[in-house]
């Protein structure tokens, strides 16, 4: 079975009922998608399949021929964060960080679908299948709305950067 992951062609050796989550994590070492429940209920394993957010734990290899898969690893890296990533960081929308990759991908797809600013209730509906046990939902909503409007708070307080000795 052949499909594209983050722009690169992949031929899997896994059996037809193996999940995409397994292929990503164990074959490709792409561990951004998390095995939170492996029942489709928590959203932590969400990736984009042909641009649409899907549960990689419910998607088996047998249905992936020719598909294009995008994981959190392709959204942006440390030096080139996407708007959604910047917003999640600036709004402290990641607490323990376990649900964050799935949230980021669902939010990215929502903003692309809408092609412009999104309202809070649209975010609630689109991200409703994503579980944040740290209950940081308000900040997640803030971040997605801000990202859809292209709003940036700007750099974090420089004094704080000095204290921490890190650059975002």
């Amino acid at each position: 079975m052949k499909f594209v992951v983050n722009g690169a062609q992949h031929t899997t050796v896994a059996g037809p009922l193996t999940t995409l989550l397994y292929v990503l994590r164990e074959e490709l070492g792409l561990v951004g998608a998390k095995a939170g429940c492996q029942h489709g209920s928590c959203g932590a394993c969400t990736v984009l399949i042909d641009g649409e957010p899907r549960r990689s734990c419910l998607t088996v290899v047998a249905t992936l021929e020719g598909a294009e898969v995008t994981t959190v690893e392709a959204l942006g890296d440390r030096s080139h964060l996407s708007d959604v990533q910047v917003a999640f960081n600036e709004h402290y929308a990641a607490q323990c960080g376990f649900c964050t990759p799935g949230m980021l991908l669902a939010a990215t797809a929502l903003i692309k679908r809408k092609g412009g600013p999104v309202e809070r209730d649209e975010v609630v509906e689109a991200l409703g299948g994503h579980y944040c046990r740290c209950t940081g939902y308000v900040r997640i909503l803030d971040a997605v709305v801000a990202a859809s409007r292209g709003e940036r708070l700007g750099a974090m307080a420089p004094s704080a950067l000095e204290i921490r000795g890190v650059a975002p």
């Binding site: 164990e26 070492g29 561990v31 951004g32 998608a33 998390k34 095995a35 939170g36 429940c37 492996q38 029942h39 209920s41 928590c42 932590a44 994981t71 959190v72 690893e73 959204l75 942006g76 890296d77 440390r78 964060l81 990533q85 910047v86 999640f88 960081n89 402290y92 990641a94 323990c96 960080g97 376990f98 649900c99 964050t100 990759p101 980021l104 579980y131 944040c132 046990r133 740290c134 708070l153 974090m156 307080a157 004094s159 704080a160 950067l161 000095e162 204290i163 921490r164 890190v166 975002p168």
Partner: protein
């Protein structure tokens, strides 16, 4: 003080939003095996036979462990605090709850491990289960543990108790007695990341354990007991935890993977399924709390009697500690001059219960605050007035006779009223946390303020207890 008032970037913020943060399950090591467990399908049974030979011969299987493979199988989660060891890492001749670990397989894939688990042969003789803690003293109940269903704090004392003031006198002179029973249920912490561990035996014989523990040194201590290995030979790697909420204090995955790694000579990872996390990991305990208050008609609490039952589940874990905390907090944020509190740890055939966000205290707060509303309703007075009147002030003493130096109940209540848009009468709005006087210092509270107090803050700072406090 550059950080105060500034928005500080989280040190792990960028790693989180790039998906680069490494949780335990994100580590991959060459030759790594996957673990899967055989768990008890029943709440109570004798284990008549356990045979692993078939499972050991299955494809990809490198090790199967049972209780016989654990250097020290029975360990307690709070042995350091004097709570006797009572919990086997892997069940021996009996199982006491649904989901209890019996045997664990390490194989090259999770699928192979799962198949091997299904090939383990086990015969049970099921026994009646004890599930309702209210039956703790009823005759002819199934016994959960050899030493009975009620834990003894001391050889002659099963309850965690507090005694303060003359409770009998308080109830004798009460105008009204209000009773209530409160039963907060068990709750699963449900962290997004299930419990996981990865153990590696290093070339020098030390064991490195990647752990989802919320309390790395606590887990290291318990693991070292199971392995009979000095903590110096263990290296715990942790700190990136996908939520815990108390549920990741319990230490099971770490010693199990370590024993498997030692037996197989390969790194072993064990990642619990969501079902295991929900059904087999500890929960917040269920509680049964009875409160009786002796009251004056105008809303003074003269005394309080309580009876609490705590559902420990099948093993002690942190229950004794939770019940101590619970008992200390049964007066809530209010001044109760006469207290007789009795709290019992009851063992049942439920999954062991343990920490979750202020465990022991939330149950007390729920019961006390609900009871305060009931009292107000019975007395026909405002629940705000009842609370404000009895709220702790400077110089009031806790049930364990600690004098409050800086209580904040009144100011908190007033802030809550304001936030809720409740319009309180001027006399109540003018109340403060300051020492009681006048109408707010009835005779029954004068006495408790005169009691000698051992004030912890004063003790620490080497100065006498509260000025005028005795």
């Amino acid at each position: 003080m550059k950080a105060v008032g500034a928005s500080i970037p989280r040190y792990d913020g960028v790693a989180h939003v790039t998906g680069a943060s490494r949780f335990v399950d994100d580590f991959r090591l060459p030759g790594m095996l996957w673990a899967k467990a055989l768990r008890s399908p029943v709440a109570s049974a004798r284990v008549l036979r356990l045979a692993t030979a078939r499972a050991e011969a299955m494809p990809g299987v490198h090790a199967v462990i049972t209780h016989a493979d654990v250097p020290k199988n029975v360990v307690g989660h709070q042995e350091v605090w004097g709570i006797a060891a009572d919990e086997p890492l892997l069940a021996e001749d009996e199982v006491r709850y649904v989901g209890q670990l019996i045997a664990v397989v390490a194989a090259e894939t999770e699928g192979q491990a799962l198949a091997a688990v299904q090939a383990i042969e086990v015969d049970f003789e099921e026994r009646p289960a004890f599930l309702d803690m209210r039956q703790a003293w009823a005759p002819d109940q199934p016994q959960v543990a050899p030493d009975g269903n009620v834990y003894f704090y001391y050889p002659d004392q099963p309850q965690r108790q507090i005694r303060k003031g003359d409770v009998a006198a308080a109830f004798a002179r009460a105008d009204v007695i209000v009773e209530g029973t409160y039963r907060p249920g068990a709750i699963e912490q449900a962290p997004a990341e299930p419990a996981s561990a990865l153990s590696v035996v290093e070339p020098d014989g030390r064991v490195t354990i990647y752990s989802t523990s919320q309390a790395l040194y606590y887990s290291m201590e318990i693991t070292s007991r199971h392995l009979r290995m000095a903590t110096g030979r263990l290296k715990f790697v942790g700190g990136t935890v996908g939520g815990g909420f108390g549920g990741k204090l319990d230490t099971l995955t770490e010693p199990v993977t370590a024993v498997l790694a030692l037996k197989s000579g390969r790194p072993v990872k064990w990642r619990w399924t969501r079902e295991e996390e929900m059904l087999c990991s500890s929960t917040r305990a269920a509680w049964h709390i009875e409160i009786a208050d002796a009251l004056t008609r105008d809303g003074w609490i003269l005394g309080r009697r309580t009876l609490t039952l705590h559902d420990a589940g099948a093993y002690m874990r942190t229950s004794a500690y939770a019940c101590s905390k619970h008992t200390f907090h049964l007066a809530g944020a209010y001044s109760v001059p006469a207290c007789a509190f009795n709290t019992f740890v009851v063992k049942t055939n439920h999954v062991p219960t343990a920490a979750m966000r202020g465990f022991g205290v939330t149950s007390a707060s729920f019961a006390v605050e609900t009871h305060m509303n009931r009292v107000a309703e019975v007395l026909g007075m405002s629940p705000w007035e009842l609370r404000l009147k009895n709220a702790n002030r400077v110089g009031d003493t806790s049930p364990s006779r600690v004098a409050y130096a800086n209580p904040s109940t009144v100011s908190t209540l007033l802030a809550a009223a304001q936030a809720a848009g409740v319009d309180l009468p001027e006399a109540q709005r003018a109340m403060t946390n300051a020492r009681r006087e006048g109408a707010l210092l009835p005779a029954h509270l004068v006495e408790q303020q005169r009691e000698p107090v051992a004030h912890l803050l004063a003790w620490r700072e080497g100065r006498p207890a509260l000025e005028g406090g005795h």
